[in-house]
């Protein structure tokens, strides 16, 4: 019998280590949202493991009173894969940043998504290198002035969502770093999803890239500039709840309900579970509105399910129970 999961509070998940991020960093919001989400997930504390790479974000495991590993730059998805294959009962979380996952760890990032192993990745995207003190990252904008691009960045950026969907991500969510309630919920949803879940947090770095997202996530403009999508609900946003998305040819278009004969029934209904990622790709590419929420959650077979099924099959077909059975089989001969 599986023992019932204890009732936890967020305090159960806070380690005794002093948190050392810069004051005002969204990382604090992410940490607290995670500590609040974990008691709601129905997982045992001893089964939770955080694996991180290198960077500001990757200090995260030290602040969680769970199992954790602060590993090496970019490799957390590979470490987490080995961990999860070894013990599929664990709730495994990868904590990474835009440099960690899309520059040095780009290869592991795309392959973990392709394989669809059941783990959760939280990508802290602040469009800058923080820990090395302010160089441009793979998500920095063209023209952005940073320590390593004093005359403006010349390298066009990745969109984390586009890259992830191109790598066949089954679950992609995006959340603003200053919306803890929604963030908490998306962490819970990610844990419940079977397969690799990627959550991109639009995280503000107050020191090296302050205000990177303010034009759409400042409290004053947020409702008008951001669309929070929910499965099976029409994609409506705006202070007045009168803006929405429709499909015009091969493009998504923002329309106003009540203008030009547009009614609420004309607005596209979000289908996160659709296998075809075309519409999800369009949503992640939009700049107005910036789309957040669970954009894609397509149920698919996980890597460990395939591995388990194969192992069970091989085990039932095999006569080998112990290694001696193998060693003493086939072309053996005796010397007397």
């Amino acid at each position: 019998m599986e023992a019932a999961v204890k009732e936890y509070t967020y305090k159960d998940f806070a380690s005794d280590q002093e948190v050392r991020w810069c004051p005002g960093c969204d990382d604090y919001v992410i940490l607290r949202s995670m500590q609040k989400a974990l008691p709601e997930m129905g997982v045992k504390k001893e089964d939770v493991v955080f694996i991180s790479g290198i960077g500001c974000s990757s200090r995260f495991p030290y602040y969680m009173d769970t199992y954790g590993m602060h590993s090496i730059h970019g490799r957390a998805p590979a470490i987490a894969t080995g961990l999860k294959l070894t013990n599929p009962d664990l709730s495994v979380w990868v904590i990474t940043g835009d440099g960690d996952s899309m520059a040095i760890g780009g290869n592991h990032f795309i392959h973990v998504l392709r394989r669809n192993i059941d783990l959760n990745i939280v990508l802290f995207n602040n469009e800058i290198y923080g820990l090395t003190k302010g160089q441009f990252s793979p998500t920095s904008l063209v023209g952005q002035k940073t320590k390593s691009s004093p005359y403006g960045n010349t390298q066009p950026p990745f969109s984390a969502g586009e890259l992830a969907l191109g790598a066949h991500a089954r679950f992609f969510g995006r959340i603003s770093g200053n919306t803890p309630k929604e963030m908490t919920q998306i962490f819970i949803d990610a844990e419940k999803f079977k397969g690799t879940s990627l959550i991109e947090v639009l995280q503000n770095c107050p020191i090296f890239n302050d205000g990177a997202y303010s034009k759409f996530n400042d409290k004053a403009v947020r409702e008008d500039r951001m669309l929070f999508v929910e499965h099976d609900k029409p994609m409506i946003f705006g202070k007045e709840r009168n803006k929405g998305l429709v499909l015009n040819g091969l493009k998504l278009e923002v329309v106003t309900i009540g203008e030009n004969g547009v009614t609420e029934t004309d607005i596209l209904v979000h289908d996160a579970k659709e296998q075809d990622p075309t519409l999800h790709q369009m949503l992640v590419r939009m700049e107005y509105p910036m789309v957040t929420g669970i954009i894609r959650a397509f149920d698919d077979v996980t890597l460990e399910e395939r591995e388990d099924a194969l192992t069970a099959q091989v085990k039932s077909d095999s006569n080998f129970k112990k290694t001696d059975d193998l060693f003493f089989s086939g072309d053996i001969y005796n010397v007397f």
């Binding site: 694996i51 030290y62 090496i72 490799r75 894969t81 961990l83 070894t86 001969y333």
Partner: protein
């Protein structure tokens, strides 16, 4: 059976070295394997070495498309696949051209005359036909129209296409060689019956051609002798022929079973290590988990994750891959988790000589990481003892909680030899450091007072939640610590932990003489060559030469200096420009070391060693 009339011509010999060569598609690996397996079943000692091109499908008939298989069998102890050969079987001109240099003068070469066409001679860059221009006059040449004879033998077999017919000519050659060495065809015909179960016409064809070759040799006056090689005197027991890489894989299987852990392999394909992955992926019935990762780094990283979760975790690679794994190896060392890295060495640097052997990764294994990061380094020395040293690598890493790097090389990894099968029950115990429940005053960096191994707290156990990482950590709690004295303490204790492995490994035991004028020192895959050379010299009366071979490199066996002190001269022999000798100079600085080095992608040849050693005494 050899006809009675032929018996008077039989000649008894101790050992023979045969090389089968032909085009990549001529089935030389299969031919060689059949001959060596049959000889092993007969009771001979055996060593084999395949030699095939790096190109997968090289153009037919080209010099670089030649595939070869060398086998050395004997009624005496066989330690290597041998150097120069007694019999060369050349299926085409390119094979003859690239291998004739290895045939001992006056010895026999069998050629398929049908393949010596104008086109094939041109492809092999022969200006005239060597069968006609007198260039083979120092050898005994047996010319056989193997392709035509094969076709003739199969003319009544229904349902065969031309390709199948031509491809079975290797069995004609094998049949001839079976007759020459008095071997039974039974093992090979059984092999056909199993392998081609669903294609009776292919069984019939191969069997017919094998027999045709056998009877052809029997009646052919060109073959003056049949040879008899008696079974070797080997320790009683149950044996099988095993390849080095297979033995490595099996050593890990045994260690996993003995330790009660499951085996995890994270790996990325690389020559010549890949067939460890190919072998282990077959064994899901033992709960083996394998991940063919996206790159070398992910291979080792996934293994680190598996180790954190409580598996016996390994990763396999060769030189360039080891370079890529260096950072992650440093992490495993820093967080003090068990991990075995197998490096099947090949010729370097960079991509180097992927299909050739060398011992040039030793210093990379020892020092190829940032910071001060000592790990345990051991080396296997024969195809069959890859089993023991893989097992030992697993035992050491689990018991001492620090990574172990196991060095093998292309020569022993692809070579095969008889292995006296070890049952798991006969292997030494493996005690793991896993803690099953939270005890009072538990800390992640609590250490065993003897080994200094920290305990292994695996996720899933309530109360043991903890964080590890690459940052320096407090000596007890494992929390991040930048305290200067703590860093020095931790650096020293990680080194001391490796040093103390000396208390758990065997002494190095010199062979032939415990004291004398010369000590031959080797390590890893050169054991067979060095042992054979020193043995030959001892048999010639040079009983003042000893031989010490090292399987434990870091740390060295405790008695190393003591052994060295008993000899007037020490010569360190390596297939590199002198890497182990550097390790010895650091650890045993009181001695003067001579060196013998070879950097040709080839193993030591017996005569070069014998000459060198003779010149020193």
């Amino acid at each position: 059976m050899i006809a009675t009339t032929e018996k008077k011509k039989q000649k008894v010999i101790d050992a023979v070295i045969i090389r089968f060569v032909g085009d990549s598609g001529d089935g030389m690996q299969l031919t060689g394997t059949q001959f060596s397996d049959t000889s092993a079943m007969f009771g001979n000692d055996v060593a084999t070495f395949p030699n095939y091109p790096a190109e997968i499908r090289a153009p037919q008939g080209s010099l670089y498309g030649v595939s070869g298989f060398q086998v050395h069998i004997g009624s005496v102890e066989i330690n290597t696949p041998g150097d120069d050969v007694d019999l060369l079987v050349a299926m085409n001109p390119a094979g003859l051209k690239t291998n004739l240099h290895a045939l001992k003068p006056g010895h026999t070469v069998i050629v398929d005359t049908d393949s010596f066409t104008k086109k094939n001679l041109e492809k092999a860059l022969y200006e005239s036909n060597p069968l006609e221009d007198g260039s083979l006059e120092n050898y005994r040449v047996i010319e056989v129209a193997m392709t035509s004879l094969t076709k003739e033998a199969l003319k009544d077999v229904e349902g065969l296409d031309n390709k199948t017919i031509t491809r079975s000519k290797n069995m004609f050659a094998l049949g001839m060689v079976y007759w020459m060495y008095g071997r039974s065809r039974e093992y090979t015909t059984e092999f056909f019956n199993k392998k081609f179960k669903k294609k009776p016409e292919v069984i019939e064809a191969n069997t017919k051609v094998l027999n045709a070759g056998f009877y052809f040799a029997e009646t052919l006056e060109l073959i003056p002798n049949a040879y008899t090689i008696a079974p070797a005197k080997m320790a009683p027991g149950t044996y099988r022929i095993i390849m080095g890489n297979q033995a490595t894989a099996w050593g890990f299987l045994a260690a996993a079973e003995k330790s009660g852990l499951e085996l995890f392999l994270g790996s990325y394909p690389i020559t010549p290590a890949s067939n460890i992955l190919h072998e282990l992926v077959k064994h899901k019935h033992f709960g083996v988990k394998t991940l063919q990762a996206e790159d070398e780094i992910a291979g080792i990283s996934s293994a680190i994750g598996a180790s954190f979760a409580g598996d016996l975790a390994i990763t396999t690679t060769s030189g360039p891959g080891l370079a890529l794994k260096a950072e992650a190896l440093g992490l495993a060392m820093m967080i003090e988790l068990p991990l075995v890295i197998v490096d099947v060495q090949r010729g370097g640097p960079s991509t180097g000589l992927p299909t050739k052997t060398e011992q040039s990764d030793l210093l990379q294994a020892m020092y190829g990481r940032n910071g001060e990061s000592p790990i345990i380094v051991i080396a296997a020395s024969t195809p069959s003892n890859c089993f023991e040293y893989a097992y030992e690598a697993a035992k050491l890493t689990i018991e001492h909680m620090t990574p172990v790097l196991l060095l093998t090389d292309g020569y022993i990894a692809n070579g095969s030899a008889p292995w006296k099968i070890k049952s798991v029950a006969s292997m030494p115990e493996i005690k793991n450091n896993i803690i099953k429940e939270a005890e009072e005053d538990w800390h992640p960096y609590n250490r065993d007072k003897d080994t200094l191994a920290r305990n292994w707290a695996v996720p899933g156990v309530p109360g043991l939640e903890h964080r590890v990482g690459g940052l320096e950590k407090d000596r007890v709690s494992g929390n991040v610590s930048y305290v200067p004295e703590n860093h020095e303490y931790m650096t020293k204790i990680r080194a001391e932990k490796v040093k103390r492995v000396q208390n758990y490994i065997p002494d190095v035991v010199p062979e032939f003489t415990e004291e004398g004028d010369l000590l031959v020192v080797g390590w890893g895959g050169t054991y067979g060559s060095l042992h054979s050379a020193v043995k030959e010299l001892n048999e010639e009366g040079y009983n003042n030469i000893g031989f010490a071979h090292f399987n434990y490199i870091n740390p060295l066996p405790k008695n190393t200096s003591e052994v060295f002190s008993k000899y007037k001269k020490i010569i360190v022999c390596e297939l590199n420009s002198g890497q182990f000798v550097k390790v010895l100079k650091i650890n045993c600085s009181e001695f003067n070391f001579l060196q013998f080095n070879k950097i040709q992608g080839l193993p030591f040849a017996n005569n070069e060693l014998v000459e060198k050693f003779k010149s020193l005494v």
